[in-house]
């Protein structure tokens, strides 16, 4: 319990800290989430970029390879043709040589449509595979003026002595270009060998299947017109393409390579999808968690403030709270209880029985009470017990016990609420004394009123009597009177005398009503009853009352209430006389002794005694040594005792203090 209390205590100090923590925590969480999202996106972009770059690199490598292959093929063929041209310039049997060699060249040269042998004036001498090679300028198509490019090529070839490429042209649904290789015979230009290439055929033969599968290969002229294409599949726009000049043949022709959109790898796609899905799931769960945590925090906060509230409530209580386990050991004590008994909570918790705050004289009572409580028979109306503070002072406590049920619905022990009733008792006692004083005072006031009324009531008839009397005397002395009138006046005088008598009688009646009621009185019982009445104030003043009753059967005719009044008066005086005596010495002894002729009761205190000067005036009315005293107490006591034909006196206590004693005759009527 106390452990909880400590945690609660720290909880109050950290009242607002958790909220800050959660804010900070949420902020970081949000930041991390956002960063994670950003990084994932960045990663994807990067990967994509990488992939594109890689693709592009591969593309470029492939394109370069293609270009090289094309160049190699073209240059290889051109070289063969040039050698054939050289050989034709040296050989005699030119026709057969051409036929033989041209076929070889055709076989080894991909994309070569045909080989045409022209003389120096550009007339056809021979051609492979046929003379009907579809070629501009030398057959049906040659109606067009000889293409300038052809003419320039022939011219350049003849002049430079090396192979010259022509521009592309279209012929019979084919796009072609030509290569002129000059034939020199002894340094004389003798014609040219023309290699006719079809772009399509070239692409068909040079571009391998794996390349075609990945890329679309186009050849475009300088105006961007498509000359040939490897694949018929139209590519949708693709970012990855590459264009390199197609040289030879040159003339601004370009080799355009476009990558097909790759179908992509299934595994990375799957992983990506999974990552995105999982990330989404994670964010969703985080979001859900956030709500959950928020609710939890709110609940925690509510619990904490509730706990703080309870704690504050508990601390502010003036009622002491004490929990005990089923073995009767204290497990918890609230601050009010600690203040009440003056022990720290640590000293109380787990303290062995008897508990340190039990008054030594009440340990037995406390133990039996504890047994009753543990047996579940705690009194509903609570129990009053004496507790001892750490400093040794005693106080009266009112204890209510209730079962303590823990969180598991188990009976864990007993919770007691303890109220310090000392002040209340003192107040009650004070109120009672004041009430008594007030009653006495009001009795005196009414006595005064009665006396005043009595005086007036008596004055009237006495005044009348006196006047009648004086009148009669006057008449008699004057000698001038009639007997009848004197007689009438005297009769009236008599009536007034009777009236006065009635007033006196009424007073007597009134007094008789408050006369003592005499009956057989057991003095031992009277003493015990009086002690019971005074015990509370004795305990408050920490005075022990000892009744020393030698003969419990002592009885006599007396007004018991009056005797008790005397006893209480004397005992209260004794208790008040001992206020300066050490607590251990405060003992009031009431002794009852029955002699042969009288009963004697002695009330002995251990106070400071009475000075001789005071002793003389002790019984005088309106004499008091007390600040608030009326000085009637002892006077009334003595009146009562004297009414009973007894005697009240005071003597010194040989053990210190004073003894008030009274004796009553044993054989009174």
């Amino acid at each position: 319990m106390m452990k909880f209390a400590r945690v609660w205590g720290s909880g109050i100090r950290l009242k607002y800290a958790p909220l800050k923590w959660s804010n900070w925590y949420f902020a970081v969480l949000k930041l991390v989430g956002a960063l994670l999202l950003l990084l994932i996106v960045a990663l994807f972009l990067l990967l994509r970029q990488n992939e594109t770059d890689e693709q592009r690199a591969a593309l470029i490598a492939d394109v370069l390879w293609l270009e090289q292959s094309v160049n190699f093929a073209l240059e290889g063929t051109t070289e063969q043709v040039r050698q054939l041209a050289d050989d034709l310039g040296r050989e005699k049997n030119q026709q057969s040589l051409f036929a033989l060699r041209s076929r070889n060249v055709m076989k080894s040269s991909p994309g070569l449509e045909g080989l045409v042998w022209l003389d120096a004036s550009a007339r056809l001498i021979d051609a492979t595979p046929t003379h009907k090679i579809v070629r501009r300028g030398y057959n049906g198509l040659s109606d067009n003026p000889l293409a300038e490019s052809q003419a320039r090529a022939i011219e350049m070839a003849s002049k430079l002595g090396k192979s010259i490429y022509t521009d592309a042209y279209r012929s019979a649904e084919k796009t072609q270009f030509e290569v002129y290789a000059p034939i020199f015979e002894d340094g004389q230009y003798r014609g040219a060998l023309v290699s006719v290439y079809s772009f399509n055929a070239l692409l068909q033969h040079i571009v391998p299947w794996w390349f075609a599968e990945k890329y679309q290969v186009n050849i475009v002229d300088s105006n961007g017109v498509l000359l040939a294409s490897k694949s018929k599949i139209r590519t949708v726009s693709s970012t990855i393409n590459y264009t390199i000049p197609f040289d030879p043949p040159g003339y601004g022709m370009e080799l355009q390579i476009t990558a097909y959109r790759s179908a992509g790898n299934l595994a990375p796609m799957l992983i990506k999808t999974l990552i995105i899905t999982l990330a989404a799931a994670m964010f969703f769960s985080l979001w859900a968690m956030r709500g959950h945590i928020k609710r939890r925090l709110a609940a925690e906060q509510a619990l904490r403030s509730e706990t703080a509230f309870r704690k504050a409530m508990e601390d502010s209580l003036t009622v002491g709270m004490r929990a005990r386990n089923r073995q009767g050991l204290t497990t918890y004590a609230n601050p009010a209880f600690c203040r009440m008994v003056g022990y720290a909570a640590d000293e109380l918790i787990g303290a062995a029985l008897p508990a340190p705050y039990w008054a030594p004289e009440e340990v037995q009572k406390a133990l039996s009470f504890q047994d009753r409580v543990m047996a579940g028979k705690a009194p509903q109306e609570g129990l009053e017990m004496r507790f001892k503070r750490k400093d040794g002072t005693l106080f009266d406590a009112l204890i209510y016990e209730a079962p303590l049920i823990d969180a598991d619905d188990k009976h864990a022990g007993w919770m007691a609420s303890i109220v310090d009733v000392t002040a209340r008792k003192r107040a009650e006692e004070l109120a009672r004394q004041q009430q008594e004083t007030l009653q006495l005072r009001s009795r005196l006031v009414s006595m005064g009123e009665m006396a005043s009324t009595l005086a007036h009531e008596l004055n009237q008839p006495l005044g009348a009597i006196s006047s009648y009397n004086a009148g009669c005397l006057n008449k008699l002395s004057s000698g001038n009177f009639v007997t009848s009138e004197i007689e009438a006046a005297l009769v009236k005088l008599g009536v007034q005398a009777e009236r006065a008598g009635r007033v006196i009688h009424r007073v007597h009646e009134f007094v008789r009503k408050s006369e003592p009621k005499l009956a057989l009185c057991n003095f031992a019982e009277a003493i015990n009853d009086s002690i019971a009445l005074i015990e509370l104030s004795a305990r408050l003043s920490r005075v022990r009352i000892v009744a020393d009753i030698a003969d419990s059967g002592a009885q006599s005719i007396a007004d018991r209430l009056m005797i008790e009044q005397v006893l209480i008066n004397l005992m209260r005086n004794g208790i008040e006389a001992m206020s300066d005596t050490a607590p251990a010495q405060r003992q009031l002894t009431i002794a009852l002794k029955q002699g042969e002729e009288q009963i004697e009761i002695r009330v002995a205190d251990r106070g400071s005694g009475i000075a001789p000067a005071v002793k003389e005036k002790l019984f005088a009315p309106f004499f008091s040594t007390k600040v608030e005293g009326m000085g009637m107490g002892l006077n009334i006591c003595r009146s009562i005792i004297e009414f009973h034909h007894g005697r009240l006196w005071v003597e010194d206590n040989p053990e210190g203090g004073t003894i008030f004693a009274f004796s009553l005759p044993f054989d009174q009527p």
Partner: protein, 204 residues
Amino acid sequence: MTPRVYIVDDDEAIRDSLAWLLQSRGIESVAYASASAFLDACDATFAGCIVLDVRMEEMGGCELFERLLERACPLPVIFLTGHGDVPMAVSMLKNGAFDFVEKPCNNNELVDRVIAALQRDAARRQSAASTESLNLLLNELSTRERQVMERILAGKPNKVIAVELHLSMRTVEVHRSSLFTKMKVRTAVELAQTLAALSGKPVI
């Protein structure tokens, strides 16, 4: 109305015995059972004195006395007080009561006080009567005679009076002798004494 003693007491025995006592000394009395009964009956013709009991039902003696003072009733009042009423009775004396007697009292002493009160009242009535007659004489004086009289009383000689009133010596002398005749005096000293009785203080 002949002077008598008015007894106000709510106790029948007291009223009757006091009446008997007073009658034994030859004094006439009337008794009233309450203060209000007396107030109803009382008028300016009443002469004599009042004997009041302080403690009465309804209206007490003190209150009745105050009412009488309000009415300017000139009758002397003797209070009968019980035991303990003395301080109150003393305060009534200061207010003009004639006397107070404590009950039970020496009865003849009370009668003596009553007689003294009756004498005082008789003297008062006597003086009231002479004042009235003097006033009648003064009313017969003319304005001039009054002016001359005032100056004679101020001790001025005829010559000075004549100058002040713009009259001749002769006229002043005529007025003087005329007012002396009307006031039934022969000398200025006698005139002063007569008027002093009226104002209650000696002029010379």
